[in-house]
Subunit: 113 residues, 2 copies
């Protein structure tokens, strides 16, 4: 079984951006933007992968993984991403929290066959 929800990552160290958010009710263009941002992020230098889950109440966690802090800083300042961030604050998110972390160890189980 392959499972595309799991990011396939190199050995640590690398960086994680942990983005927790509560969506406002309704779509208001969110799904389209989110898919486009994920595509765009995947094309950035230093992008390693991402995982995402959102529950039925609209609370979600997206973790994106990056080779280094410079890659995170560049993505944060990307022009289209900045517009999405503004829309996010104005419309899509009731609240969010961002944490930037250095991944030091990683393991997984049971094996994907």
């Amino acid at each position: 079984m392959n499972d595309a929800a799991f990011a396939s990552l190199p050995e640590p160290p690398y960086y994680a951006v942990i983005f927790s958010s509560r969506r406002t009710p309704g779509d208001a263009g969110y799904a389209r933007m989110a898919a486009h941002m994920m595509e765009l992020a995947a094309g950035q230098p230093g992008f390693l992968g991402a995982e995402s889950a959102r529950d039925a109440d609209g609370f979600g966690i997206t973790v994106s993984y990056w080779a280094n802090e410079q890659a995170i800083a560049a993505w944060r300042c990307h022009a289209e991403h900045r517009i999405a961030q503004e829309q996010g604050r104005a419309r899509w998110y009731a609240h969010y929290a961002l944490r930037v972390a250095r991944v030091e160890r990683a393991w997984d189980g049971p094996p994907l066959v």
Copy 2:
């Protein structure tokens, strides 16, 4: 608005355990164990908070936050938690990935009023 899904954390640095998982179909005692493990974790020395989301397809991310690596190691070896880990590998998870990371920066928005 207060939103209990968000962890209320001190200033960095602190540690994050990022646990991504794909559930097997059916409950099989999972919900009860998960609630009990969260209660138990919350009582451990160095536990700072946790956030969790699982989508309708059974892919979920739980991030728990800890004061230091020692607290993570102690929780990993906790007797009841070890039993839950075994059950997780045997029954509840089709696959999981664990990443231990040092949180260096954190911010949030829009303010919870």
